[in-house]
Symmetry: D3
């Protein structure tokens, strides 16, 4: 059935865009990845700092936090630069909080020791799904940063307990479809972002009806799609990491 | 089965807290409601302004937007006042965006005409579930404001197309439970906020695994609970409105 | 003579509005009071923090500071939320500085020990006189917080040295009147806020001629009225405290 | 009696500091005055702008507003530059609001026409009494700006209806004293700022007990002193203006 | 002589790093260039907006303005994200003002018509010379944006009057060297940024002695080097543009 | 040749404006200078603080930093007050960074010990050349502050290693001219600010073509003029310091 609709992208309802994960994309960061979901391109870096936020002082454990940004002309029309406006939008804050929670769900922060892993996800070209691409790429960047800590003997055991990736799903002309690009996203009634682990557990589900509310049945079909998409994304992560 | 666990609150797994909706709580706003979910108390007001944001200029339609705040000592320990810090936290922005989306899902903004409905949800006492109480109370405040516009002949047809309410659910000691208070929320592995309409459609689902990821099966049981809770909340709204 | 004018409120020139002080209004704060001067309603909380500001570090004494806010729709027309605008207005800062000075005038901060009493006054409904209601209610909240410190043995002697309350007076159609509500305030030539102690000393006098400057004689009559009003308010505080 | 105490400044209890008003101090402003109260030196400028704030749009009347600042090293120890901190302190806002109210009390804004008079008071050296010196000097600057408007035929009648000046008084070692310098101010129990017109009316009285509350009798003696001081200041203004 | 020193980079004193200009780097902007000076990589986009700033309203001419940013981990150690800190550093503002001036020097803004060209230079990897790379790349992006306006018939004549590029020079161990990378920059006594046109005119010279002041003779030799470097850069621009 | 043009100011092409340096201008600062370049008047203070910025903690050396501001009506038309707008402009930040670098070029910060010299340059009247007057005056203020530290035995050896001063030059109607006032500055094609030491070394050169780019030959003639001007300014500094 999902084959019969014509998505704007021309993809099958259950098809991801072309996904590419390029490691070592920039040279300074402990982990640096360019992740591409079709025309959506995000630079994800992981930086190690030998300190923890105030609320974790003297607890012996570490922290992982994320920030998100978009180049002003990553989008169809130029957006104001947040640094020039002097504050981050609510959307930016919502996304960076999501990225942080997603990554922390597969981190044993005790094993990280008293240090902070800063994740930066900067969108250089946007075509829908920037938050899901960010999570998927950031995991690989974080993995590389952890590998450096292990190789340098600064930690003994990896704090990473599982894989984690994210994908969007939506209802386009009554049909659930996987991995929305910008055109599809703006025409979908429902938009859902799903974060899952390698073990298949749900870390986060954020579904929003943009127009008509969605039914329990639609939701089940969306989750089926998301699960299949995330399985493929984690496979891509493993290939990128040579795991 | 849900009867066998002992929730911190002593409630049954599928029991809401005592819910109370007091209309006409303050005197200036077009709609003003005190909503109480147990010890969580939120003042929700709806204010009508005869103008629309720039992006809707000359479109003939209206807008609904929401803001959220907490009195500094609404919580166990005093939080910084956001006005004094000079900015709203990411959490605040996330919640007020959610409230706005939830309410707009049952508004036909064309019928509202070129005016804005400002929803303000201010928590005077917090004990978990402030965002779900806010949505549930804000709907009633918005309904009162719309009634005034209708009574004054400023609009001809109500822009409200359905009821909308919200509730939290979570997994406490492996058992799905309804309407988490603060103590339960901090001990739950999974926390999910669900927004639904009177027709039973989903408007928003936000589920987060705080510790162990959750399974598809747990999610289904959480949604069952949420649906039953929201049905009761909408009944409360109807009673409050004398509908 | 003062009986012959017709105030907008219908009150006698020397009559206070109905004053109500409700203790234990919210549950988390060490002191929590709802104070009502007629339709003006303010939640005043007192919170104890076991630290002092930098400038008092290692001095062995405590500090008391106040913050003030208004819910956006506490007023006739909705005001911008200060947290969203990113800064407090000059009016807000002026009021919260006044509240702090007023309370500190009856506190022996040495006896408080190295801790801070945070006073929060949040107006949920405004009808004139929010700053005087705030001071009057905040004293009771502070008293309750101090009582808890004494009961817990955290301080040995109360730092409170006297009562303190505040009232507004103004010149309405050439006649001095007590406790202005919003309608009266906007029609008065002179507006004066007076803060006094239980002993009858002046802590603060702030008089402003909105239109015609006021004479020495008018001022004397305004102060007479204020003294009588504050005597009644302190009586209300005593009753509320069961003193 | 007032002769018997020894003020830190060596002045008699009822003596002003040496007051100097220098007009045309800087060359660009329509009115520019250096006012000196002893070692307190403030540059007061009045600038005319051919527009009014939004809330006065199309009302045909004008506006007068004031801003206040201190050079960082106007004080004994260097203060943070407000422009660098990114916000004005509560004290600054309180003072500039006071200056604006004081000047507006002697302005008929209808006669000013649809333009704004911007008053800027910048303290280049502070030794107590900066707000009273500011008001006293700003009046002269405003007068010069108005004279230019009259001379150019841009207004027909002066909007200035009276003189206005301000002075501080305080209780030093139980004795009321006039025009406190910094040393005296920090040792006074009570500090009162008084703004009066040439006609002898009170525009503003702001009295604060820093330590012991003050009595009605002390207040009366403070106001006597203030009246005599302001009479002298207005004489200085007249001399400076050649009136 | 310049051949005898050993630069940290191993380059000859008068050698540029490998320079690469990639057009059409991202897909949304009217002009989008990745410019690389060795390991320094900057995305430069040019965006056309059909409006002008307030100060040019109704003048019939256009405007060109530039913004600059760095990804937080473009550098050796992670820098704070300016959007999160809520303001741009002085360095950022200085650089973006420089880029704007440099580009405007070769623009006839009257020919651009009432529109704004927004230049965004975002450093994704920094290794010294980010501002000179930005100017050099931004020119090409601006050229592409102008070509689109010409092709679409929105302007009749190109507003671009000449080429413009920029390079840094410095004194390393007493020898003037061209195009400093990060290691060299931090060891140089003098650092000079030079902006020149295709015609060979100077648009901007900014030379700073980091340690020992520089002499007139050194300056002359630095300018010789800069001129030769810029000639090569403009050749690269021409090749990239197929001119 | 330079005699043949008619500058707006009537000065010879190589003539400085009347320069006046008044020490001990305000009483609190360790160094306080009023510097006048014709109608440009800047108050420069140097303040000593017994602490260093975080990045110099425990290095044993000191720091010198500068801030710059303009009174709102120092200029022809009133500018917004930066403190009220809540941020410094890019121009302000650029200038204060320049002043800091210029002064540090003649300071041996090791000899200053673990303290900070805060330079504040506040323009009370602007007529072009405010940054060059600031640097020239700030040197004298810093010298006075250092003299106090030496006299008090808080440092043993002066950290000042040379004189430093600054001047602007420009091309007016094809002729290089010295020390531009506001009228000249706005009509010049090229504007260059030059900072030099007493030894004749260049500390900073910032040249900008406002219209037509400038040639190597023009630049040489500008530097000749600047050198002669700075020689005179340093002579003025010496006279002011009685050196």
């Amino acid at each position: 059935m999902t084959d019969t609709i014509q998505r704007p992208s021309g993809r099958r309802a259950d098809a991801l865009r072309h996904v590419r994960i390029t490691r070592h994309y920039t040279k300074h960061a402990e982990g640096s990845v360019l992740v591409e979901f079709g025309d959506t391109k995000v630079i994800c870096t992981a930086s190690v700092a030998e300190r923890v936020p105030e609320f974790l002082r003297d607890r012996g454990q570490g922290w992982l936090t994320a920030e998100y940004g978009m180049l002003p002309r990553a989008t169809h029309t130029r957006s104001d630069r947040e640094a020039a406006r002097g504050k981050q939008t609510g959307r930016t804050q919502e996304i960076q909080r999501l990225i942080g929670r997603a990554l922390r769900s597969v981190f044993d922060l005790g094993r990280l020791g008293p240090r902070t892993l800063h994740i930066d996800c900067d969108v250089i070209q946007a075509d829908g799904g920037t938050r899901t691409a960010s999570i998927t790429g950031a995991f690989v960047a974080a993995h590389d940063a952890v590998a450096k800590l292990l190789a340098a003997g600064r930690i003994e055991q990896s704090p990473i307990t599982d894989y984690v990736a994210a994908i969007s799903v939506g209802v386009y002309e009554s049909t659930p479809v996987l991995d929305l690009d910008y055109d599809e996203d703006s025409q979908c009634d429902t938009d859902m972002n799903v974060v899952m682990t390698g073990e298949g557990g749900f870390v986060e589900i954020q579904g929003t009806a943009e127009g008509v509310p969605f039914s329990r049945d639609e939701m089940n079909r969306l989750l089926d799609l998301a699960q299949s998409g995330i399985t493929q994304l984690i496979q891509k992560q493993k290939e990128a990491l040579g795991a």
